[in-house]
C-alpha cells in the first residue's frame, strides 16, 4: 500500500504550483483555473488524511468542496464575462478601477 505521506507531498506540490500560476499568469481566466488547482490539492490532502485516519468524514468534506467549487465556478465565470463585456479585456492589470 502506498504511504499517505506520498499523497500529502503531491498535494503540497500541486497547491504551490497553483499559487505560482496565480501570481505568474496575467489573465483572469487562467488565474481562476489556478484557484481550481489549489482547491483540488486541498481535496487530495483531505482524502490522504481520511484514509490514514480510517474515517469517512474526510470524503464527505471533499464531496462538499467539489459542490461549492462548482457553484463558485459558475458565479466567477459570470463575473469574468461581465468584466469582458464592459472593458473588452480580461488582463488583470487593466482592473484598476479602485486605484487612486
Amino acid at each position: 500500500m502506498i504511504p499517505g505521506s506520498y499523497f500529502f507531498i503531491l498535494s503540497v506540490i500541486l497547491f504551490v504550483l497553483g499559487v505560482i500560476a496565480f501570481f505568474v499568469k496575467r489573465d483572469l481566466l487562467t488565474q481562476f483555473l489556478s484557484i481550481e488547482v489549489m482547491l483540488n490539492a486541498g481535496n487530495l490532502a483531505f482524502l490522504a488524511f481520511a484514509r490514514a485516519l480510517n474515517s469517512l468524514h474526510g470524503q464527505v468534506i471533499v464531496f462538499f468542496i467539489i459542490t461549492v467549487a462548482a457553484a463558485e465556478a459558475a458565479v466567477g465565470l459570470a463575473i469574468i464575462l461581465l468584466i469582458f463585456r464592459q472593458k473588452k479585456t480580461i488582463k488583470s492589470e487593466d482592473m484598476n478601477l479602485m486605484k487612486g
Binding site: 483540488n40 459542490t67 469574468i80 464575462l81 461581465l82
Partner: protein, 165 residues
C-alpha cells in the same frame, strides 16, 4: 503495480499543471487542466475513495472545465495575452513557492506519523458514504442545494443582457 500507477498519474498531473504555467493559450490551459483533474481522479481512486474519484471525473473534468471552455470560446481573444514584461514577479513567486513548501512541510511534520498509519485498507463503499451523508451531514447537504440554486440564479441574473426601453 499501485506504485507505478501512482507515480504515472502524479507525473501526468504535475506535468499538466506545469504546462498550464508555461502555455499562453487559454484553451490549451483549460484542456491541460482537464487532463490534470482526470489524473487526480485516478489518484483519488488509489486512495480507496471510488465514489469521490467518479465524482471528480464527472463534475470537475467534465462539467466545470466544460463551463470554462464555453466562457473561453465566448470571450474569444483574437490576440493572446502578451508575454510578461516584468520578470521580477516570476522570480518573486518562485521564492514565495519555495518558502511555502518548506512552511507547509514544517507545519505538517507532526502529522506524518498519522499519515504513515496503515489504517483504511478496505475500500470505502459508496453505500457507507451515502449513509454518512444522509444522516450526520443531512443539514449541510440540504444547505448545499440552496447554495447551488443561489449560485445558478445569481449567474443567470449577472450575465443576462438588459432589455432596452
Amino acid at each position: 503495480m499501485s506504485y507505478f500507477l501512482f507515480f504515472l498519474l502524479a507525473v501526468v498531473c504535475v506535468g499538466a499543471v506545469l504546462g498550464m504555467i508555461f502555455s499562453r493559450n487559454q484553451a490549451y490551459n483549460a484542456l491541460l487542466l482537464v487532463l490534470a483533474f482526470a489524473a487526480l481522479g485516478g489518484i483519488f481512486g488509489l486512495l480507496s475513495a471510488p465514489f469521490i474519484a467518479v465524482v471528480q471525473i464527472i463534475i470537475y473534468a467534465g462539467a466545470i472545465m466544460v463551463l470554462f471552455i464555453f466562457v473561453i470560446m465566448m470571450i474569444n481573444l483574437r490576440v493572446g495575452i502578451p508575454a510578461e514584461k516584468k520578470k521580477w514577479t516570476i522570480y518573486l513567486s518562485v521564492i514565495l513557492a519555495v518558502f511555502l513548501i518548506v512552511e507547509v512541510i514544517i507545519a505538517a511534520k507532526g502529522s506524518f506519523q498519522a499519515l504513515a498509519a496503515p489504517g483504511g485498507e478496505e475500500i470505502a463503499s459508496p453505500k457507507a458514504l451515502g449513509n454518512l451523508l444522509f444522516t450526520e451531514y443531512l443539514y449541510p447537504f440540504e444547505i448545499t442545494s440552496v447554495l447551488i440554486i443561489a449560485a445558478l440564479v445569481g449567474a443567470i441574473i449577472l450575465v443576462k443582457k438588459k432589455e432596452k426601453g
